[in-house]
Symmetry: C2
Subunit: 433 residues, 2 copies
């Protein structure tokens, strides 16, 4: 720790839940914070599926990073992309600039993993960015539009089949919302097709959905989804994805499901920049491309480099893994800031203890599963809880009230007003007509 | 007029103000309406500049066409792109389908005109579509971001110069909003630059801004813009635009203005499909690519083909031209529907009389100019009037209340929350980092 040229320089890579919290927690410390992100906004990822399904607009769940730290005079924001690290000179290498640091916090997040099948990506986009969300929205709405116009029954069935791969919270939320769109939102919009005939499948390789939840909540969730009309298939592997559809395998039975729209919610891996960091630090990444960190979130042998959030793998003293959720990233960001402050003031270094705030997932219209401590419940009250908590965490955004109103409107009218087909098809290269 | 195979088939090309109004006006007539558009939504273009400047989200000013005619059982919607017409067989030729009609209404609108200088388009995008708006938003916000990071004073000045070409309502609104963003919204967001130093120019070839308004309102508008800080330059021609900036000429004085962001609001021409229609109908287009129509909006020699809105040129008996504004297109749509109804019921054919509802333009925060009949006024009350009328015409959208709230919020806080840099650069091909 050599405070260079005045104040100690903390560079934070990534303005997600972990990085932003760390930046804010350092507001009153004697440090100069530089927050680097390749996007100009902080994204509230838990509601991204609402953008993908036309319920909310991108700006409802994104807030400009500069606005968020506007009043924090010791923090500046750089819109830039990190491509490497020089740990000798202690610099983050951007495409067109080098940013020196005394302490580095890397919270660059995760991206999709197709488990080695990169060729599936163009046929089955994942949901991590605003652009992913508008692309999925475009695909879903375009499928209904194309179905209205085709004459072949087989092609119409293919266009009206929607496959969601992976039954974690995102997959469950996507499947639940897709069936609501088909059965309610679009009910009277078409003249030739009946959108309610859409076939929404949720494919999960494991034995239950929402594996991070208690088994009885998984049961409740599967039950609720099936009641809404989703075809939930557990213990089912995806073995191939093409532009025609997906091939799945359950036991020894292989089946090819023609489908125009396939969404990937099955796996994540550490962000690409993690590779450069691991190489620079001389350490290995785990199989999911994450960096294994010490009890204080530093990299082994690099006490000035912290890695938090989805790019890190963290186990507590008892071996329990820190989950890849927003509260864990935020608590890590807060903790790391307190370590930096303690080091600078020569105070005792704190220890990290994760306070699990519980977990929750919506299933669809008016249904959710919630686990808060030992308290588990599902159904409409769980959904209200989910709604309340998500609005609460949107608190930093001016959009909170707008989101609440839009949700209330959507709930009462079954409408989803942000049903726009915009931009070109990024994967298949067919220009918007 | 040969009602074919049952009911009379009316095909409407374009779901803008004119086409949508015509479709709705035919709801109770004994006709089958087919509304064809290449986008799945109706766009409230007068507020597009709010999207381009981060004040509203795209979905706030767009509504799915299918929703708008959901309850109109005699109307179906086709998402498709017209490429030609066969007037022998009476068919609209789409890329993948032919749609037969008994009566055709073409309301395909207008696109930008660069007066023969197509090479300017990539450096100076216009504002006609949602994608134009998000692209302009991306350019404006990126310019400030890049200015924060450059070391050269000249390059910083270039990045902080914004040139709007053309001082009709769109140009005036863009210039007024850009100066508000620079002087208020972004005021405290940066650490190295002072956004208030941005230089916003409004370039107009004619002798006054808002030429469709009375001269004294043009004066008031120019005065208000200058008070806000906009550099208004009248009688100034743009002679060249490159990626470095714009060259303008005033009298004999030519000046090159280095600028990273140039927005085009200077000219429009009829939509491309107008060329195919003119060719099929054997008529000429005017210099702005529009089709000159008869007093009943039909093409000469083609009583079953109506052209309304910005694709048509219409002069009344006294030679007065119908203006290219939303109320004119809507009244034409309503009128054309009544002509079709009268023909089918063998009733007397009505005559068209444009009822001018007045005109208005916002100048910026709390300022506007309004002309209602003989009543002309400007300032804050004019701005409230502008606000009220625009919300009123958004009435068909569920978003009306959301827009009002967002405006109220923006007005009080000076904030513009939809400040997202998204998507790739469509013109210059540099990928989003």
């Amino acid at each position: 720790m050599q405070p260079a040229n005045g104040r100690h320089r903390v560079v934070i890579l990534g303005g997600g839940f972990g990085g932003l919290r760390a930046a804010k927690a350092l507001a009153r410390e004697p440090v100069e914070v530089t927050l680097i992100d390749q996007r100009n906004f902080h994204l509230f990822q838990p509601l991204l599926y609402q953008v993908a399904t036309g319920g909310l607009s991108p700006a409802n769940i994104a807030a400009p990073l500069r606005s968020l730290v506007r009043r924090q005079r010791n923090c500046r924001v750089i819109l830039g992309k990190a491509i490497d690290f020089n740990l000798e000179t202690k610099e983050v290498v951007l495409e067109d600039e080098r940013v020196p640091f005394d302490t580095l916090i890397v919270s660059a997040g995760a991206k999709h993993s197709y488990f080695g099948n990169h060729q599936w990506e163009r046929f089955a986009p994942g949901l991590k960015t605003i652009e992913d969300a508008t692309e999925i929205r475009r695909r879903v709405l375009s499928a209904f539009e194309r179905a209205e116009r085709v004459s072949s029954d087989a092609e119409r069935a293919r266009l009206l089949r929607f496959i969601v791969v992976g039954a974690g919270p995102t997959g469950v939320e996507l499947a639940g919302t897709l069936i609501e769109i088909a059965r309610h939102t679009l009910k009277k919009d078409f003249r030739r097709i009946n959108p309610a005939e859409a076939h929404v499948l949720l494919i999960e390789a494991g034995p239950r959905l929402l594996p991070a939840f208690d088994p009885d909540l998984s049961e409740d969730g599967a039950e609720a989804l099936r009641r809404l009309g989703v075809d939930v298939r557990l213990k089912t592997m995806v073995v191939d994805i093409t532009d025609a559809g997906a091939t799945v395998k359950s036991g020894d039975v292989e089946e090819t499901l023609p489908a125009a729209t396939i969404l990937w919610a099955a796996g994540v891996q550490g962000a690409v920049i993690g590779e450069a960091l691991a190489k620079a630090a001389g350490i290995q990444r785990d199989r999911a491309g994450r960096l294994v960190v010490q009890p204080d979130f530093t990299l082994p042998g690099h006490p000035d480099i912290f890695v938090i959030g989805d790019l890190s793998t963290y186990a507590d003293a008892s071996g329990k893994m820190l989950p890849g959720v927003a509260p864990a990233a935020m608590q890590a960001g807060q903790f790391v800031a307190s370590v930096i402050a303690a080091r600078l003031s020569l105070a005792p270094i704190p220890e990290f203890h994760f306070k699990d705030p519980g977990s929750m997932a919506t299933i669809g219209r008016g249904a959710a599963v919630v686990k808060l401590g030992n308290w588990k419940f599902s159904g409409f009250f769980a959904w209200l809880t989910w709604l309340f908590v998500h609005l609460l965490f949107l608190v930093q955004f001016q959009n909170r009230l707008l989101v609440l109103m839009q949700w209330a409107w959507n709930y009462v009218t079954f409408n989803r007003s942000a049903r726009l087909i915009t931009d070109t098809n990024r994967f298949l290269g067919e220009p918007e007509n």
